[in-house]
Symmetry: D2
C-alpha cells in the first residue's frame, strides 16, 4: 500500500520511521509545511535502511496536485496541523485517496469538511490514533455498560512539563460520563504517558492501563487503520468503527 | 427474587452475606452438607440485620423435595461441592427452578447432567463467578482477536500458602492460547488475589488487572447472573453468554 | 509479654484478633468505653481459639487501678479515642507499664501529657501504626534526601465513602515537603487502602507502594512496636525511632 | 568537571547525550574501540547543541597516553567492554584521574586490577549505574533487614527479545537472599525495563518499583557518582558506598 505522509514534526518523524520499516507499506513521500533547503529522502534523514522513495517535499517546492500526480498514493496520513486538511483534502478526495487524519483538535468547519470529503472517499479521523488508547476507551465503555453505577476514576501520568489535563483523559472521561474531578493528573519527571481507568466494585477492583513507550505507537495505529480501511466503502470513520467488527466476530 | 443457597463454607457464607444485604433478593434457605445441632437463621449466624428467613438446613434434617415444597425458590445458587448437583439437580429442574452453579471443577459426568437439566430449566455454570474476572477474560480475548500476534503474559499474585498456579490464570491462558510458562505466579504474604494480563506492543503496553478484595465478590457475581438469567429461556449458559449482549448493545 | 488492650471498635477487634493468635504475647484483658451486659472473653467473642484470658471489661464494671492490680500487664495498647489517655495514662506510668498509642489525632494537651508520662515509663505514639506505611515514609524521605529536586506525587486510593484526603497521605506529603495538590485521591468501590509515592526522574521512575489488606495490619504494627520497645529506656518514641536502628545496622 | 568517555555504543551515546547537556560537566573526548573514518564531535554526531569539545577518537588514531596529555580530564567514565580497563586503567591511575566503570561483567582478573588501581586513585564500579535501581536494592535490603522472614518476590519486565533473567533482577535476588524461582520474568513487546520487588506481609503489601524510560538514566547515574566521588579519597567504591551517607544523614 502506497502512503503519503503530511507533517514531519516529532510525531510525523516517528510515523515515517514505522512506515519505512514495514514492508507491507511503502512511504512514497512526506509533505512538510516548513521549507527545506534541499530535498532529502526520509529514510536517509532518519538513518533508516529502506527501499522506499520517501522524498521530503515542502509546499514551497511543489503543489499537492503535482505531488499526487507524480507520486500517486493509496492513503494520505496526516500528522501535521489543523489547517492542512484544507490544503490537500479536495485533491485527495477527487482521486479517491483514503484520508487518515490524526489531528488532535478539529473545529466544526474542519469536521464539516471531513463529512463532505467522505461523500467521495474513505475518510478516517482519530485524535489519539494509538490502538492501545482506543481499545482502552472501547473496553472501558463496555464495562460501564454492563455495570452503569460502578465507581470510575482515571489516573493519567505524564512528564512534568505537560500542561493541563491530558486530552486523552478528557476523552475517556467524556465517554464514561465522568466529572473532571474524577481525573487525577500526575506530573513527574520524564513519564512518557500512562492512562489508568480504575473501576471500583464493592469487593473487587478492575483496572485498564495503557502505557506509552514512544511516539512510534502513532505509526502503528495509523497503519492499523490503513489496513482496516482498505476494503471499506467511502464514508467517515473513527477508531471505534474499525474496532467494533472485532467485538462482533467473537460471537460466532 | 427468592434464592436458595447450597453450601455454607467460606465462599457460601460470603455469598449469604451479600444476598441478605440485597433487598432485591430474599434468601429463603441455606442447605449444608454437614449436620448442625440446631437450626439457625443465616442472618443471625452471620450477625447481619435482615428480614430474610434464611434458615440453615442440613440434609440430615430435611430432603431437597421437602425443602423445595415448603420454601419454594426462583433460583438455586450452588457454592458447595462437585457432588451436590446430583442431590438437588433433578428436583430443581422439575420445578423449573433456575440453577446457578459456581463449582470449580466438574467432570464429564456432571457436565452431561447439566446439559440434561438445561432441557427443562435455565442452567448456568461458571467456575469463577466474579464479574471482574469474567470481564477480564472477555476483554482480553477481544484484544487478542484484534492483534493476534501481540505478546501476552499473565501475572497472578496470591497468598503464600496457595499451592499451584491459580485456576483462573490457567483459564485465562487457555482462552488466550498461552503456554503455561507465560503465567507468572507470585506467592507472598496475605495477597487476596490479583490477576494481570500484560499485552506488549512494540511501542506501548496495555494491562488488564483484576484485584479481589473479599469473597463477597462471588455473591455479587451470582446475583448478577441471577438477574441476567431472569428472562432467559431454558438452556445452558456460562458467564460469557450473559456478558455478550452488552458488547452487542454498544453497536446501536 | 502481657498485653492490655484499650478500645474494641473495628480496629481494636482486629488488633485483639492478632494478639490472640500470637503465642509470644498474651492478651490479658480488653477495656471498652461502652458498657457490656455481660463479661465475655475476647477469644470467645471473636471466635478465635486461644488460651489467653482476654476478658472484656467496661469502665462501668471496673476502675483502671483495679484492672491493673488484678491483671498486671507489661504493655498497654490503645486503639480507643483521644480522651482515653487521661483515663489510664497516669496509672500505667506509675506501674512502669509501656504505653503504645495508635490514636490518630492528639491535640497539644494530649501530646504534653505523653511527654510527662514518658519521664516515668516508655511511651510510644504512632497515628498510623502499620509497619508498611512507616517504612514507606522513611524510605521515601531517604530518596528525597538523596535527590532533593526530584518530582514527587502521591496517589492514594480508598473506598468510595471515605471523606477527605487520607491522613496518611497528608503525613507523607508533610514529610516530603509536598503541596496538597500533589496528592491525588481516588475513591472507588471497596478499596481497603493504597498509598503510592511516585518519584519522577528525567529517564526513570521509582514508585513506593503500600496496599492494606485488612485492619489486622494495625495489630502486627503494634506488636512490632511492643517487641522493639521491650529493651528501650523510658522516653517518648515514634515509629521512626524504632526503624532507624535497622538503617544504621546496614552500615556494618 | 572534565569528563572523558570510553565507549560509544547505545549506552555510551546516551551517556554522552546527558553529559553534553549538563553545564556542570564538560565532555572532553570520547574514545571508541572501532575505527572511525573521520573525527567528529560527539555533539555534532548526536545533534546536540553544546560548547563541549567532545571529539570522538579511535584507538587507531591516538594512544591513551597522548589523549590524557592533550586533553586532561578529572574523570573517565567507561561504558565500553570488559577489556578496556586494561587499556586505560594504569594511565588514568598514574594521573590520579577518577575511574567510573559501568561495565556489566568483570571477572576476577579485572576486579583485582580495579583494587590495585584504587591504591592510586578513586575507582568506582557499578554494573547497573542508575540511581533508581541502586536505591531499590538499598531500600529493599533495609526492609528485609527489619522483617527478615517477610515473603519477597521479584517481577522484572523487558522487551520480548531480551534473553535470560535480567542481571539486575539477579543482583536484587542475591542481595535479598532469594531463590531464582522467586524471580518472575515477563517478556512482552517493547517494554524498556521494569523491576518490582513485592514484600508480602500477612495483612499488607509493600512494593518497590523501578521503571526505565531510556538509557540516558545511565548518564545521570554516572554523573551522580562523579559528583559524589569528587571529594572522596582514593579507594574502591560501589554505588552503595555513595548512597549510605544519605541514610546516615537522616539520623541527625
Amino acid at each position: 500500500m502506497k502512503i503519503g505522509l503530511i507533517g514531519f514534526g516529532k510525531a510525523g518523524k516517528a510515523v515515517a520511521n514505522v512506515i519505512l520499516q514495514n514492508t507491507d507499506f511503502s512511504l512514497e513521500w512526506v509533505l512538510k509545511n516548513s521549507p527545506m533547503p534541499t530535498i532529502f529522502s526520509a529514510a536517509e534523514f532518519l538513518g533508516v535502511n529502506s527501499e522506499d522513495q520517501g522524498l521530503i517535499y515542502s509546499l514551497e517546492n511543489i503543489t499537492v496536485d503535482e505531488l499526487l500526480d507524480m507520486h500517486p498514493v493509496d492513503v494520505i496520513i496526516d500528522f501535521s496541523s489543523t489547517d492542512s486538511i484544507f490544503v490537500y483534502g479536495k485533491m485527495a478526495a477527487e482521486r479517491k485517496v483514503t484520508i487518515i487524519s490524526a489531528i488532535s483538535h478539529y473545529g466544526d468547519v474542519e469536521k464539516e469538511l471531513l463529512r463532505e470529503l467522505s461523500e467521495e472517499t474513505t475518510v478516517f479521523w482519530s485524535p489519539n490514533i494509538t490502538l492501545g488508547v482506543n481499545y482502552l476507551m472501547f473496553a472501558s465503555g463496555l464495562l460501564k455498560n454492563i455495570v452503569p453505577d460502578v465507581d470510575i476514576e482515571v489516573i493519567e501520568e505524564h512528564f512534568k512539563a505537560k500542561e493541563g489535563v491530558s486530552g486523552t483523559a478528557l476523552k475517556i472521561a467524556e465517554k464514561l460520563d465522568l466529572e473532571k474531578e474524577n481525573i487525577n493528573s500526575v506530573r513527574a519527571g520524564g513519564i512518557v504517558g500512562k492512562h489508568e481507568v480504575v473501576f471500583g466494585f464493592p469487593y473487587q477492583t478492575v483496572r485498564l492501563v495503557h502505557e506509552s513507550i514512544s511516539r512510534e505507537a502513532f505509526g502503528n495505529g495509523a497503519l492499523f487503520a490503513a489496513r482496516e480501511l482498505a476494503d471499506k466503502p467511502k464514508g467517515l470513520y473513527n477508531f471505534e468503527d474499525i474496532l467494533r467488527p472485532y467485538f462482533e466476530l467473537k460471537e460466532g
